[in-house]
Symmetry: C2
Subunit: 468 residues, 2 copies
């Protein structure tokens, strides 16, 4: 941790938020020093919990004066280290920003950033409305973090990602200015799109304090099926074929055999009886308001996947069965984590390239000596690659694995894909950015960062490579 004159800063912070919301004890700093990324711990020097945009504005002005880093911290469920205080400084916890309003007249949600995503989705649902983005961590992640990372989730394949629902943002800029980025409208061609520049900027360009989201009418029915494939590559191939048959599923998830086995073991779930020869599963959902239509679509999907080597399809008939399947899918990362330290990559390619990507990952894993568990949002071409440390030596983990990751990303980009589909670049992927972008792009990104934050005090050391 860097050595800032925190002591000099404290009276000012006390004056801004009141002393009850300023913490320097080890326990608090440690708690706010990690997220869900690997086993990292980067405690801030001081944790502050402001209550208003004006307080944040005052903190930013102070931080500029003292040239001290400020890192916005949300629910700390991130997988790219975006909320880690890698240079210490002020950890700015947004946890007091939890107001939520559903505007039924305009089909909008007005949320503060620490509203838990699932809380928002349920509040909308109660009013007959739907906020589709549903990251696996929806029960614990916050909407502000979703916007910072441009999160996706299982329903993105039909409904789009977080960015597609963000209409307007109240933001405290690094210099303390408080702005709205746009308007509360569905269409907007009024100047450069500052809203979309903020989405996915991982807390490096401004601190989001209020969010206007588009909602849509909710759908009343869905059909969920689990399709076991005897060949993992064929499961990937089937993904593109389902779309080519004219169907847009509301979810289309891929799980390697290992992923489902780890999940079942972790959940102590013995209800699924999977043949040893099964190599992968697709979890496919269609949704809508007319059950007959959904059954017709499910039949079409069956027609498509029966061209491949599959075992018997499992239909989830009850809400309990559906929840159990979704829980299994959402638990994979946690299950892997409970077994071993791991690195999670978030590769994304055009949908049709998925089999090539999966093959390549396994080949690269053999070359560099690591095991990987792959699963993810196959409908979007978004494959999560969990690289397991297991019994690997620290040296291999720190030297060989990054070489393999670099090769995986090179493959991804050669397939016209990119590094991250929904987790962000943050701390852990920044030094791979040269694979995705030539210097011209990186210089533009650096210029944007400098324009917003000339003193480089807001979440420094994220997104942009160290040597830029």
């Amino acid at each position: 941790m860097s050595d800032f004159n925190i002591t000099a800063l404290l009276p000012h912070l006390h004056a801004i938020t009141g002393p009850d919301f300023v913490f320097t004890d080890d326990e608090t700093r440690t708690r706010y020093g990690h997220d869900e990324t690997e086993d990292f711990s980067f405690p801030p020097n001081v944790v502050v919990k402001p209550g208003t945009p004006q307080e944040i504005s005052a903190i930013m002005q102070l931080a500029n004066e003292y040239k001290i880093p400020v890192v916005p911290i949300g629910a700390r469920t991130g997988l790219s280290g975006g909320a880690l205080s890698i240079y210490g400084g002020i950890g700015l916890s947004m946890e007091r920003f939890t107001k939520l309003e559903i505007d039924e007249k305009n089909l909008q949600a007005i949320a503060e950033p620490s509203v838990i995503t699932q809380v928002l989705r349920e509040a909308a649902f109660e009013k007959g409305l739907f906020y589709p983005p549903d990251p696996s961590s929806q029960g614990s992640c916050s909407i502000g973090g979703n916007i910072a990372e441009n999160s996706g989730g299982a329903r993105a394949v039909k409904y789009g990602v977080t960015k597609d629902y963000v209409l307007n943002l109240e933001v405290v800029l690094p210099n303390g200015d408080i702005i709205w980025t746009g308007a509360n409208t569905l269409k907007n061609s009024t100047g450069y799109n500052l809203t979309q520049l903020m989405v996915g900027s991982e807390g490096t360009l401004g601190i989001i304090t209020k969010i206007v989201l588009k909602l849509i009418p909710k759908t009343s029915h869905n059909v969920l099926m689990l399709i076991p494939f005897f060949k993992a590559g064929q499961a990937c191939e089937a993904v593109a074929e389902i779309f080519r048959a004219g169907i847009v599923p509301s979810a289309l998830e891929f799980m390697e055999r290992d992923a489902i086995d780890w999940g079942l073991k972790y959940l102590d779930n013995t209800s699924l009886n999977i043949k040893p020869e099964v190599q992968a599963h697709l979890l496919v959902e269609v949704d809508g308001n007319y059950p007959d239509v959904l059954f017709a679509e499910a039949e079409k999907i069956m027609g498509v996947v029966e061209q491949f080597e599959i075992d018997e399809i499992l239909f989830a008939d009850t809400e309990d069965q559906k929840n159990a399947l979704w829980k299994l899918r959402r638990t994979v990362a946690e299950a892997v984590k409970s077994n071993s330290i791991y690195k999670e990559e978030d590769t994304v390619v055009p949908r049709y390239e998925l089999p090539t990507l999966l093959d390549g990952i396994k080949r690269i894993g053999s070359k560099y000596g690591f095991q990987s568990v792959c699963y993810g949002h196959a409908g979007d071409g978004n494959l999560h690659v969990n690289i397991i440390k297991g019994n690997m030596t620290d040296e291999n983990w720190l030297v060989e694995v990054p070489k393999g990751i670099r090769e995986i990303f090179e493959l991804t980009v050669s397939l016209k894909g990119t590094l991250s589909g929904e987790h962000g670049i943050g701390y852990v992927q920044k030094n791979y950015m040269d694979i995705a972008f030539p210097d011209a792009n990186l210089q533009l990104m650096k210029g944007i960062k400098q324009l917003f934050d000339p003193n480089n005090i807001l979440n420094p050391g994220k997104i942009l490579p160290d040597n830029l």
Copy 2:
């Protein structure tokens, strides 16, 4: 027009594109000096028609050296003057960029910017795919222009606007660098979103040379109905109610009585017999693959609108009837233009605020003595306001009308709306930008422009207010 040393430039331009693609004759310059915005004429000093991104790169390097403006010119159907060479210079016609490829495997289109939007939509349709954005000018506008202005259209209400379909862009930057802004993926959380920064930037940050678009499976059926309202305000109110009933129409268009009358007259169409008391119409479409579902949704919509004072609903039963209704809707601007010089504003508000906006526009018109014809994409809260010059004196047109427009925009912004939903700011709205944004936002936009284009040579004098 400014006085650049075009003569010195010409041999260089000849060397870059070959002399066959460089034009200095009056006729060509005049032709490329206007778009569909009012009656403006701003001819460039020279029109160049490059054939490759590399040629454009060389032109930009030359223009930087000579400090001469370059204005990208597409199909010249714009309504905000974005393609006008207001300071003369090089008019860069993109008309040779017309290649189009439909990638059926990944459900993507790869288009050069001068592909006509309707050509792209039809090419996708032939492969069973759908590119939803459909500006009224789709038969003559180009996809590059659509991206520059972030165009919408009637189907945006269900399917979103241009920005929601742009995955990746090849762009020549003002300094001549040729970059891809992102990746060909449906999800992307890899650095600042340069793609979305480019969309809607009206040719001021870079010149788009290739576009990767998302396509979706096409729908096979639709139902179209025209609903006459005895009160215009109630037609606006019905818009929000249709959504609150859980329906997402694929189009929901509003036309004032005057708009439909002008359209009918212009088309010499006598088939629609509209009662004198009818003040406005909603044109409502639902689409999908299952006719039974569409009829059920149409019945729901009838249930909603019957709560208001309406005349008999007209269902378009045949393709011919549907085409006739759409032609009527799309012709309104042309019909108004054939009668009088007019200014077209592109106001947008949250959907529920539409009746308040319409009321306010009429009130402001009375105050400043102008007639307006209002119509547009009511489902998005996007109301086009055609302000008719008619017999107004030039002084009133130049002095009083802008005051009225300013008041309309102030009303729009007070309703949490903004200046432009889909036409862009360009030349004609730039000096109203202070209404939509405080100085902090405008300074950021100016900073972004300076970052991309330090010599301010690419489409100068657009978007940002003159006094910034």
